[in-house]
């Protein structure tokens, strides 16, 4: 689904990435790579397939959109040491991102770590739009992630829960992309403090514009 944000045209992709056709840029947030092994460190042996699943999905979207560039919007790894736990195959998949002139926005899980080949920023302004990991009070025309927005709908007694984009013309928050990332319902107070009368775009086979 195409929307206008800050005078630019964007594509909300059903996979959960934001595509900026003008710049051929894919923006993706909260991959939380190696979350599985992070828990394994503490003795909870989550299936070790999350990084592979996340990166394969990401590469397939990059191909589908014929994107030239990528911007990761923070919390790319679940913890500071995540990168060093990448198994060989996953490491190859990760390094393939270097073909896309990757931009790294620092998230709260990332600390000071930046993988080589990425241009890192705490905050970045691009075409008049601000890119932050976590939305900042007072910042205008800002695109961020961090909160993992999801929408919960009860329809005909079936409860559906989907990750979603949430946007009010001034701020946009991206869904989390990582395979093991849960979500925070958009009804949560955190969102009320950031956005006013937001529009919700739920992920599915296509994007669903939902009123809440």
């Amino acid at each position: 689904m195409k929307i206008d944000f800050g005078g630019h045209e964007f594509l909300l992709h059903p996979s959960g990435v934001l595509f900026w056709p003008e710049k051929s840029l894919v923006i993706v947030s909260d991959l939380h790579l190696e979350k599985g092994s992070h828990f394994a460190l503490r003795g909870f042996f989550l299936p070790p397939y999350d990084t592979k699943e996340t990166l394969i999905r990401l590469h397939s979207v990059l191909n589908e959109l014929s994107a030239q560039k990528i911007l990761v919007l923070g919390d790319t790894f679940h913890d500071v040491k995540g990168f060093f736990r990448l198994p060989a195959e996953e490491r190859k998949l990760f390094d393939k991102l270097l073909r896309y002139e990757p931009i790294w926005i620092k998230g709260n899980h990332d600390g000071d770590f930046v993988p080589s080949g990425f241009k890192a920023f705490k905050s970045l302004v691009l075409g008049g739009l601000v890119f932050n990991h976590e939305a900042k009070a007072g910042t205008r025309l800002e695109i961020s992630g961090h909160f993992h927005p999801k929408v919960e709908i009860v329809h005909k007694k079936a409860r559906i829960s989907r990750p979603c984009f949430i946007e009010d013309g001034n701020k946009m928050i991206l869904p989390s992309f990582g395979a093991y990332t849960g979500g925070l319902p958009v009804t949560h107070a955190s969102f009320r403090h950031i956005l006013q009368n937001p529009r919700i775009y739920a992920l599915g086979e296509k994007i669903y514009n939902i009123q809440i």
């Binding site: 979350k35 092994s37 394994a40 460190l41 003795g43 909870f44 042996f45 989550l46 299936p47 070790p48 397939y49 999350d50 592979k52 699943e53 198994p87 909160f147 993992h148 919960e152 009860v154 005909k156 007694k157 409860r159 395979a179 093991y180 990332t181 849960g182 979500g183 925070l184 949560h188 955190s190």
Partner: protein
């Protein structure tokens, strides 16, 4: 059975202080108590089947009391372990067994140990155990994980397991059976005494208790209980489960008796029945409420008041089912169908705790089918047709937990542990391969992609034994012990007062301002604050009813057969109330009445849709699964299925196109590919996976009150399920989840029996209009497919009226 051997017994107990004590109370030994003692003295394990009120607990403890008394206080350490599925029961038993010990000054120490026991006492119990310890399966697992297990249990003589019938088909049963297998190695001389309600096949329970040398002792059935079905001038409703029509009559009965328990099947019923009884409470009777999601303090208060005889009536779910001893209860009321004959007997047993007097029970059917079921249960009891027990195959998730616990107690040899585990009944068919997989899971997750080599929890040491990689691992184990995984529960608070807990999914349906019944009051939902549900008082007397999922019980096979016999045998119809008999007679006229041999399937059009109603009598779970599978098949055949509804008796499916080849819909191959495809995609399998993942220790148990706040950075088990199913669909935890889904909730065994049994015996009856027997199903569809706001009583009444007209029953139902 064992020969009572009168003389030997006389010698053992005659002149014994316990006998004098009993006589001083005006009681005497029951034969089954003496039999139990004799069998134990001969070195046998004992399974005692006895009804409530037959001195079962004392029987179980008798060998221990006699032995310990004979030793005159010289016995050191733990002699007897008493395990009960209920914490409250351990306290109760502690009190009851304490009476003779204290009054006679017997040289025996005895204590309880549960999650409620103060930490200091638990520490002391670890080093200096009492002679008799009363505890739960979970606390036993914990004791078995301490490094001093060998000396702790070395002198153990008896393991008493109470309410055996209630535990052996559950995961707690799996856990306990593994604990018993462990004790079998640690204390080979310990004998097992199982206490059970009266069951149909005691041999199965005896085999579960121990692989060999088990004597079965049966107490005589107590006097035939005095069971009546509520007589009322009101009309019995077509559908629904709330029995509101009967509350005036129920109140009148409650008023006639000194102390009544009103049993219901679900918490939603409990809330509504409680409220309705109060509406009629002109005489200001003291009526209380007891169900599992009320705050523990509130429940305790009700229990104490009951014990003191300070209440006139308690409305309760199965939270009061198990054998607690109350003050004199005169009347037991069962609202809704009893679902099983043994369950009904157990509930009735709460009344009139004396063996030689009949208990009094009143059954209150909530709809017409249930009337048949109540009648069937009554007949079943008269014919002594009690339900059997069906122990389940042990869960692989519980096995993983047990292996981890064993490692916490000290290094173990894998082959020896395997040999020990297969002595536990639920695991007797466990293969070495599956054992190894569970072991690999505990070690580092057991994934085919061996990524977690460096994070191992256990490893093989130089002597070839498995041991913890670090003693710190024990913390992980102890945080996660047990097999009860609640669906996420939220605290309900009014101001600062905690009222209890409620399922998260229920709250997800609510908007601020909605009202619901909780803890006996209509409360207003104000909102969620962090993880707490905030409510306030409201003047409104109407409420959305909590749609608690808990407590919906499947109907037992015995009972469903009885219902079918009742339908088949026209002589039995004489006892039916007029409106129920008219209903069946109209069915006979306009369609066919189901019998015991064939399965009736009716088809008819209605309001531009088509209906298929199959009277399977297979139970709600099996019918629900059948409904899903037939929907899939209809979809494939382009019959445009819309929805279905399942009850214990039938499944009704709605389609847009007229369905064809009805018989083929019920072919046996439904259970092949369609089942697996469907199952992998259901919320059910995901719920089962979450449970298995928590029990096996894959994901952290959510402890009440310690839940995450604000940002939800935890993962959902659904996401893990999806990834694991994609990359390693035969992983041990997925197999555990599928095993659970197949076994309990979707009831594949039952369904498979049904499908095989009905081949060539399907009677398809095409009708022009809805049949009288199908009316409750159509009403049920209306209830389940409309949102609550739409389901006004008006709408339902209107629908009912038009259904009656269609089926030609409107005149008949005027009474």
């Amino acid at each position: 059975m064992i020969d009572v051997g009168g003389e030997a017994t006389e010698n053992k107990l005659s002149g014994h202080p316990l006998t004098d004590w009993l006589h001083s109370k005006g009681w005497d030994w029951f034969p089954h108590q003496i039999e139990t003692l004799n069998a134990a003295m001969e070195g046998k394990n004992v399974l005692l089947c006895a009804p409530t009120g037959a001195g079962k607990t004392l029987s179980g403890f008798l060998p221990s009391l006699v032995e310990l008394n004979a030793q005159g206080g010289k016995f050191k350490g733990l002699h007897t372990l008493y395990i009960s599925p209920l914490k409250a029961l351990t306290v109760d038993v502690h009190r009851n067994i304490g009476k003779p010990i204290e009054e006679l000054g017997l040289p025996i120490t005895f204590e309880t140990r549960t999650g409620d026991t103060p930490a200091s006492k638990r520490v002391r119990q670890k080093t200096k155990p009492p002679n008799m310890l009363m505890t739960t399966p979970e606390s036993l697992a914990l004791l078995l994980s301490y490094t001093n297990v060998e000396e702790y249990f070395t002198n153990l003589r008896y393991i008493i397991i109470d309410e055996l019938h209630a535990i052996l088909d559950s995961k707690r049963g799996d856990l306990f059976s593994l604990g018993m297998a462990r004790l079998g190695s640690l204390a080979p001389n310990a004998q097992r005494i199982g206490l059970s309600a009266t069951i149909a096949d005691p041999q199965t329970a005896a085999d579960w208790l121990s692989p060999q040398n088990t004597a079965i002792v049966r107490a005589p059935a107590r006097t035939y209980p005095d069971i009546t079905i509520l007589k009322t001038d009101e009309r019995i409703p077509w559908a629904g489960h709330m029995a509101s029509y009967a509350m005036k009559d129920v109140y009148a009965e409650v008023r006639k008796n000194k102390m009544s328990i009103v049993f219901v099947n679900t918490r939603a019923q409990a809330e509504l029945v409680f409220q309705n009884l109060w509406k009629h409470n002109d005489a200001d009777l003291k009526i209380a409420l007891h169900h599992g999601s009320l705050e523990r303090e509130l429940r305790r208060k009700v229990e104490t008041m009951m014990a003191e005889g300070a209440l006139d009536c308690v409305v309760a779910t199965s939270s009061l089912d198990l054998g607690l001893d109350w003050a004199e209860v005169d009347l037991v009321v069962q609202i809704g169908a009893p679902k099983g004959i043994s369950r009904l007997l157990q509930r009735i047993g709460r009344s009139n705790h004396r063996l030689n007097e009949p208990s009094k029970a009143l059954l209150v059917p909530t709809n017409r089918f249930e009337y048949l079921e109540c009648l069937a249960a009554k007949a079943g009891i008269a014919h002594n047709e009690i339900d059997g027990v069906s122990p389940k195959k042990g869960g692989l998730d519980v096995l993983a937990q047990h292996i981890f616990g064993t490692a916490c107690a000290g290094p173990f040899d894998a082959d020896k542990l395997y040999a020990e585990i297969i002595t536990a009944w639920p695991y007797k068919e466990l293969t070495h391969v599956d054992f190894d997989k569970a072991l690999a899971f505990v070690t580092n997750g057991g994934y085919s992609l061996n990524n977690y080599e460096q994070f191992k929890r256990i490893r093989i040491n130089e002597e070839g034994l498995y041991e913890l990689t670090s003693p710190r691992q024990t913390r992980l184990y102890r945080m996660n012990i047990g097999t009860i995984v609640e669906s996420p529960m939220l605290k309900v608070k009014m101001g600062r007062r905690t009222l209890g807990t409620i399922e998260e999914f229920f709250i997800n349906h609510l908007a601020p301002g909605d009202t619901f019944l909780f803890a006996g009051n209509v409360v207003r939902f104000d909102g969620l604050h962090e993880m707490t549900v905030m409510v306030s008082r409201t003047a409104s007397s109407r409420a959305k009813i909590p749609s608690y999922d808990g407590g919906k019980l499947p109907m037992s096979t015995h009972l469903s057969m009885r219902v079918r016999q009742l339908l088949e045998d026209r002589d039995e119809w004489r006892d039916l109330p007029d409106n129920v008999r008219d209903w069946l007679e109209h069915q006979e006229e306009r369609s066919i009445v189901p019998d015991t041999r064939n399965m009736l399937v009716e088809t008819f059009p209605r309001a531009r849709k088509h209906y298929i109603v199959a009277f399977t009598f297979a139970g709600r779970q099996a019918n629900q699964t059948l409904g899903f599978l037939i929907m899939r098949r209809l979809q494939r055949n382009n019959a445009k299925p819309v929805s279905f509804v399942a009850t214990d008796y039938a499944v009704a499916i709605t389609t847009l196109s007229p369905p064809e080849n009805i018989e083929d819909l019920f072919s046996v191959d439904l259970l092949g590919e369609e089942l697996n495809e469907w199952l992998d995609d259901t919320p059910l399998i995901k719920r089962m996976f979450r449970e298995a993942a928590v029990i096996a220790g894959l994901i952290e148990r959510r402890h009440p009150g310690s839940q995450k706040t604000g940002r939800q950075m935890t993962f959902s088990s659904d996401l893990i399920y999806d990834v694991l199913n994609k990359y390693e669909s035969d992983h041990i935890l997925l197999r555990a989840a599928r095993q659970d889904a197949n076994g309990g909730l979707i009831d594949i065994a039952h369904l498979s029996d049904l499908l095989v049994g009905i081949q060539g015996k399907i009677t398809v009856k095409p009708l022009k209009k809805v049949s009288p027997l199908a009316i409750p199903m159509i009403l049920q569809i209306a209830r389940e497919n409309l949102s609550r706001k739409q389901v006004g009583e008006y709408y339902l009444e209107d629908l009912e009226k038009s259904l009656l007209e269609e089926s030609g029953m409107e005149d008949a139902d005027e009474n």
